[in-house]
Each structure stands twice: as structure tokens, then as C-alpha cells.
């Protein structure tokens, strides 16, 4: 029976043998010249690609614009007096008609070009679950009601 040492010797001999038959016949010098010419011809109509990071700037810029607009909107939002909140609470079932067409949303739509969800995920710009919860908690009752209405509408659930 062969020992591990014998197996190692056998493998070492085999590697030597493999190496000894691995010579590649050297093509003529003209071959190399033709090869370069063939490669050049094959790519002559191909555009030169840009650096790898160039593919990322569009979604990142779009996301940055969106975030900036949202931050500005939140900062500039006027504080709602308690009386107004009470008054609005009385009409909580009435849908807020102007949210979808408000100037703020229009501004966001204009500032952010159409972007696939995959691009946003690739750019690492998806909000965390914590951020989403916090955002919902900061909504007024009217806004929450409207959010529920919009979600139901999106999901096709009747009221």
C-alpha cells in the first residue's frame, strides 16, 4: 500500500510530466501582427466605454435631488396650529384631494427623472424600516388617513 509520501512523489512526477508537454508552438511573427489587426478591425465600430463609475451617477444624482427636495419641503412646511388639527379631525373621512397634484409633488416629479426601483437599491438609497416608521409617526391624522387611502388605491382594496 502506498504512503502519503509516495502519493506526493507520484503527483510531483506527474506535474513535471504535464509541464514537459505544455509547450505551445510559437506562431510566426506575422501571426501576431495579423492578430492585432483582426482585433482592431473587430472593434473599430465599437464605442469606447466610459469608466465603471459613470454608470452610477445618473441614479445617484436623481436620488440626491429627490432627497434634497423632500428635505426642503419638510423644513419649509408650516406648523399646523392645534385648532386646525381639531377642525381637520372632524373631517377625517374626507379625502385630501390636493395631495396628488400639489406643487410640492410636481416639483419632486420634475426634479427626479424616472428611475427603476432596482437602480435605487443598487445605489444603496433605500430607506431603512426605522426611517419609514419614523416618517409615518410624524404624519398628522389627516395625512395618515390620506396615506391609507392612497395605499388602498394602489393595492386595489375597496374602502
Amino acid at each position: 500500500m502506498k504512503s502519503d509520501h509516495d502519493h506526493l512523489d507520484e503527483f510531483a512526477d506527474m506535474i513535471d510530466e504535464i509541464r514537459s508537454v505544455g509547450d505551445v508552438p510559437e506562431p510566426s511573427p506575422l501571426f501576431w501582427h495579423h492578430l492585432s489587426a483582426r482585433v482592431r478591425d473587430a472593434v473599430v465600430s465599437e464605442p469606447i466605454p466610459g469608466p465603471w463609475w459613470m454608470g452610477y451617477w445618473r441614479p445617484v444624482l436623481a436620488a440626491a435631488c429627490t432627497i434634497a427636495v423632500v428635505v426642503v419641503a419638510v423644513v419649509l412646511q408650516p406648523a399646523v396650529p392645534p385648532a386646525a388639527v381639531t377642525a381637520r379631525a372632524a373631517h377625517v373621512s374626507a379625502p385630501v384631494a390636493d395631495v396628488g397634484v400639489s406643487e410640492m409633488w410636481r416639483l419632486i416629479e420634475v426634479a427626479s427623472p424616472p428611475m427603476a426601483l432596482d437602480s435605487v437599491q443598487e445605489a444603496g438609497l433605500m430607506p431603512s424600516a426605522y426611517a419609514t416608521d419614523q416618517a409615518i409617526q410624524s404624519l398628522t391624522p389627516d395625512q395618515r388617513e390620506e396615506l391609507v387611502r392612497l395605499l388602498r388605491k394602489e393595492l386595489g382594496v375597496s374602502e
Binding site: E17, V21, D23, R40, E46, P49
Partner: protein
């Protein structure tokens, strides 16, 4: 504009590119200097061709595949982030191209004349012939290995790459490379034992 440059200026630019390292060539190419890719081809065509030959075993397929490798490299060079050497990246493109070809068809194994791989100064002509025939047997056995084992064997024994470099080229772990190499040697021993020596 390159088209407006005088021949002397063009030759000077080409010389400057030839003096640049691989990283500089990639940057020059990605910033629009098409000639930089010519220099990349000039610099790496021989090892890429040798890799393709060792996978496919004949000059015709190796030549076609080498061209394919560089065309793919041209289109994909923007994905090269400089984490590894350009040669390693080109090997990766080369191995993938060869494995794709092997998956489509079994290449014809070129029968080398004994004088192409046997030392001509050898005094015994019978031994010359015997060694030539043995070389064909070994090459045929290598061609029968599963693709990943064959790739690992070629890169380790002929291209003399480290396990880590092979792992980068094949996109696998160092452990998987070591296992593949060990299995390749075991299979090769079995295949050679089946052949008449």
C-alpha cells in the same frame, strides 16, 4: 484630434503609451485613446494565446478565441476596477471565453510533430518518438478533465499562478481551487493508467 495629428506626433504618442504601465493604459483607453487598447493587445496577446491554446489544443481555435477574448475585453474594460492586475483580469475573460467554447463543442486536438515538443539534440531517435507519443497521451488526458479542473490545472502548472490568483480568475474560493487541483491530478493519474504507456 488624433486624425489631425502628424505622423511624428502619433508615433510619439504611441511610444508614450508603450512606456505606460497597464493601469495607465486602461486609464488612457477609457478617456478616449483607442490606441491604448492596441498596446494592451500587443502586450498581452502572447500569454492569452498560450492560455487559449492550452485549453483548446489547436492553433486555429486558439487564434479565434484570442481574438474573442480581446473583443470582449474591449467592450468590458470599463468593468475593470483595478482590484487585480490587468493580466489576471484578462485571464479571467480568457478562461470564461474558453469554457464557453468548450461547452459548445469539443475542439480538435492538434497532433504535434515530435520535433515540436521534443529536444532535437536527443541522441536516441526511438526515445524521441516514444516521448512524443507520451506527450500526445498526456495532452489527450488533460483534454478529458472536467472544465473547472482543467482550468485550474492549466493556470497552476503552465501559467504558474498562485492558488489565490487562480481563485480570482475563476471567481471561486482558494479552498475550491486547491480541491479542484487535487481532483485534477487524481483524475489525470486514473486517465493515464487507463492509457497504454
Amino acid at each position: 484630434m488624433a486624425g489631425d495629428a502628424t505622423p511624428a506626433a502619433t508615433a510619439e504618442a504611441l511610444e508614450a503609451l508603450r512606456a505606460a504601465d497597464d493601469r495607465g493604459l486602461v486609464q488612457a483607453f477609457l478617456s478616449g485613446q483607442r490606441e491604448a487598447f492596441d498596446v494592451i493587445v500587443e502586450r498581452h496577446r502572447r500569454p492569452v494565446y498560450q492560455l487559449c491554446y492550452r485549453f483548446l489544443g489547436n492553433q486555429e481555435d486558439a487564434s479565434d478565441l484570442t481574438q474573442d477574448v480581446f473583443v470582449r475585453a474591449f467592450k468590458g474594460l470599463s468593468n475593470f476596477k483595478g482590484d487585480s492586475a490587468l493580466s489576471t483580469w484578462l485571464y479571467r475573460v480568457g478562461v470564461n471565453t474558453c469554457l464557453n467554447r468548450l461547452a459548445l463543442k469539443t475542439p480538435r486536438l492538434e497532433t504535434l510533430e515530435p520535433e515540436q515538443h521534443v529536444d532535437q539534440r536527443h541522441p536516441d531517435p526511438h526515445e524521441l518518438v516514444a516521448r512524443g507519443e507520451r506527450a500526445i497521451v498526456v495532452r489527450r488526458a488533460i483534454a478529458k478533465l472536467p472544465p473547472k479542473q482543467r482550468a485550474t490545472l492549466v493556470l497552476r502548472v503552465y501559467q504558474e499562478m498562485s492558488h489565490e490568483e487562480i481563485a480570482t480568475v475563476l471567481g471561486s474560493s482558494v479552498g475550491a481551487v486547491k480541491a479542484n487541483f487535487f481532483h485534477a491530478l487524481g483524475n489525470l493519474r486514473r486517465l493515464l493508467q487507463q492509457e497504454p504507456s
